[in-house]
């Protein structure tokens, strides 16, 4: 225990300083009818996130783990990962949606209480990425649930993920 305490004292703060707040548009790209803007105003500063791996290779999961880790510390912007979709406001989907995960993804989305948002993280969730036309694929995330924001990359950098979350929370 003393060793741990000395390590904490010696290490100090690991989190990198926040990049400047992104110039917040009234609504992120993809919003055509103003609902997402209204949703974000309702959530204002607090977004609980439920993550669903719909068929990913885990590369995006590693990056999301890094985004919520001490270095990038996405929690400081008001985002938090939760276990149950009933506790969540936003659904982040990684990976191409495989056939077996299509219905569970729909149900997870239905279980989230309104107002809710969906973020597709990674190229596979946006447009099937390298798995387009594979035999087990049901589609991109946008084919199963309505997607409100996207984070491109294979995998996207943690900074990009954090920037997307900051657009949702507004902090």
């Amino acid at each position: 225990m003393l060793r741990l305490w000395r390590m904490i004292r010696g290490t100090g703060r690991i989190a990198e300083p926040s990049p400047p707040r992104p110039a917040r548009a009234a609504a992120p790209r993809g919003d055509t009818d103003g609902n997402v803007g209204a949703t974000m105003r309702a959530l204002r500063g607090s977004v609980q996130i439920r993550h669903v791996d719909a068929g990913s290779c885990n590369g995006c999961e590693v990056e999301i783990g890094a985004a919520f880790g001490p270095v990038y510390d996405a929690e400081r912007y008001g985002a938090r990962l939760v276990a149950s979709p009933r506790h969540a406001d936003a659904l982040i989907v990684t990976g191409v949606v495989t056939r077996n995960m299509a219905e569970p993804l729909r149900r997870t989305h239905a279980a989230i209480p309104a107002p809710k948002l969906v973020v597709a993280i990674g190229d596979c969730a946006r447009n099937c990425g390298v798995f387009a036309d594979a035999y087990g694929v049901a589609g991109a995330a946008g084919d199963i649930v309505p997607v409100d924001a996207e984070v491109p990359g294979c995998p996207p950098r943690p900074e990009a993920i954090v920037a997307a979350l900051r657009e949702l929370t507004g902090r």
Partner: protein, 678 residues
Amino acid sequence: MSTSALGLGLAGTIALLTTLAVLVIPFRLRPTISGAGTALVGTAGLAAGAAALAGQSFTLPLPSLLPLSGLSFAVDPLSGVFIAVTGAVAVAAGIYAIGYTSHSGTSRAAAAVLPLFVASLLAVPAAASVATLLACWELMALTSLLLVLTEHKQRPEVAEAGLWYAVMTHLGLVCLLGGLMIFTAHAGGDSFAALAAAAPELSPALKGAVFVLALAGFGSKAGMVPLHAWLPRAHPEAPSHVSALMSAAMVNLGIYGIIRVGFGLLGGGSTWWWLLVIGLGAASAVYGILQAAMSTDLKRLLGYSTTENMGLILVGVGAAGLFASAHHPELAELALAAALLHVANHAGFKTLLFLAAGSVLHATGTRDLDSLGGLRSAMPATTLAFGWGGLAASALPPGTAFVSEWLLVQALIHGLHGATTATAVTLPLAVSAVALTAGLAVATFVKAFGTGFLAKPRTADAAAARESPATMLAGMGLAGAACAALALVPGALLPAIGRAVAAAGWPGPVIRYGTNGLVTIRLAGLAGEVSPLLLTLGLVIVMVATAAWLRALPARRAQGARRRARLWDCGGGPLTARMEYTATSFAEPLQRVFDDVVAPETRLDVTHLDEARYLVAAIEYRAQVPDRIERRLYQPILSAVAAWGSAARWLAPGSVHRYLGYGFYTVTAVLIILTVTR
């Protein structure tokens, strides 16, 4: 003639008339007459008991009614408590029985004997001589045995349960007989007054022997560990109104006996008596609730809960005796008052719980919690009744048992001042035992209510349940109303209980603790007060205010009704009823914690394929939590008795010459011995 005598006389008469009526009237009317008659007997008994509690005592010797000793009745406020409680339980159970027995059928004997059973329950506390007590006790035992055996044609287990009950109740009678006969032999008269007068002259060893025998006899009736084995066997097999009467009225008479003999007749006695009572009471409480927590049979669970509550009452009685022998009369009075209040409270919620369990059994045909579930939509009244009874049994506010447990804990806590070493060791252990039972009781009734009534039905039987008929609901409603009254305004009963405590009869100053009206219970002379009514009011006010505030939130007003959503099942397939937690799985962590005490038995049978020893055809797994005291204490005794019996068979080979020889040799030997010792 005083109201209590009138009431008891009326009760007896109505009971006899009802019994005779049921024996002659046709089958269709039997349940109604039997149940209504029982309810009337109960009403008369309740009136008699209430009058006795108000101070109207009476004495009634009837020397010619029984040859050689006569009968003699006397009622004082202490008996009044038990008479009133019995009467109240009988009213609810009688009304309930009308509906229950019309639907499930009952034999003529059982229907006829029900009012007699209640009458004997009313007569035992009114007994004023040893002969009367034993006669009424035996009447009670025989009538209850007939009632337990009501359904023996439908189920074979009933006969075995009846056998256990019969044997144990008569062994208890033997102990009682022995103890009271020793007492009477030294007292020169068998009326209680004569016994009480003779008690100071007896040697402590003799008094101790009488007390221990009386404790064994009365304790067995009260379901005290280790003499409790009949309780979890007989209560599930009896019809539910009979279980309610037995659990809520009959077991109290064991407590009555201990109080009457220990305090009234023997006049207090030594400290070790009461340490024994506390020890056995604490053991009963902990063992009873532990077994209840493990049990998946609804009525067996309730039977073990009776053992637990009787254990708590015995802790109170023992503490009272302990404080009395240490010359702290105000604490002794407080402890005894707590015990008597718990008698009344327990009667209330146990009746409610057994009647609700009977309703479930009647609707679904099963008592197994692992097969029930989802009854709240089909049987809302029964669910409400069992929920209210379960809250009461868990000793949580605003439940019924909260106040009596509070009083008991207060008595134990304040007893540490000026205590001896024995008391200083016993009291914290007694408080820990009470605390452990309180926690386990919450776990037990959350399990029973949750798995039995909430969520989805686990079997087709449970899914097919329908609400019970009106008379059964009326019986449950009466019991529930009584529980609610006892929960919110127990202060109304406390002055009457004070008079009963004064009548328990050890020498000491007049009652000094007091109550302050109906709202708050205050202990005079000791610092402590509680108000269950204010607690409940506070809770209700905050809940209503929060609900109103929630509804007024703009988001809720905009949304309107709640959205019906699919249960969150992690997105996979639909949840079936088999995926719910069962009662067994609910209790499993507790079972693991206590597995040294509870000793669950598991059996695993693996059937392999004939062709290949490495392939499995079928696996059968059985897990069971037996009554460990029965296994470790009773089975060896029963096996020993059976072994001696078979060994002694060589004494009885069937030859008449041998038997005549036995007689001849015995008489000769006796004559020789008498001649030699003259």
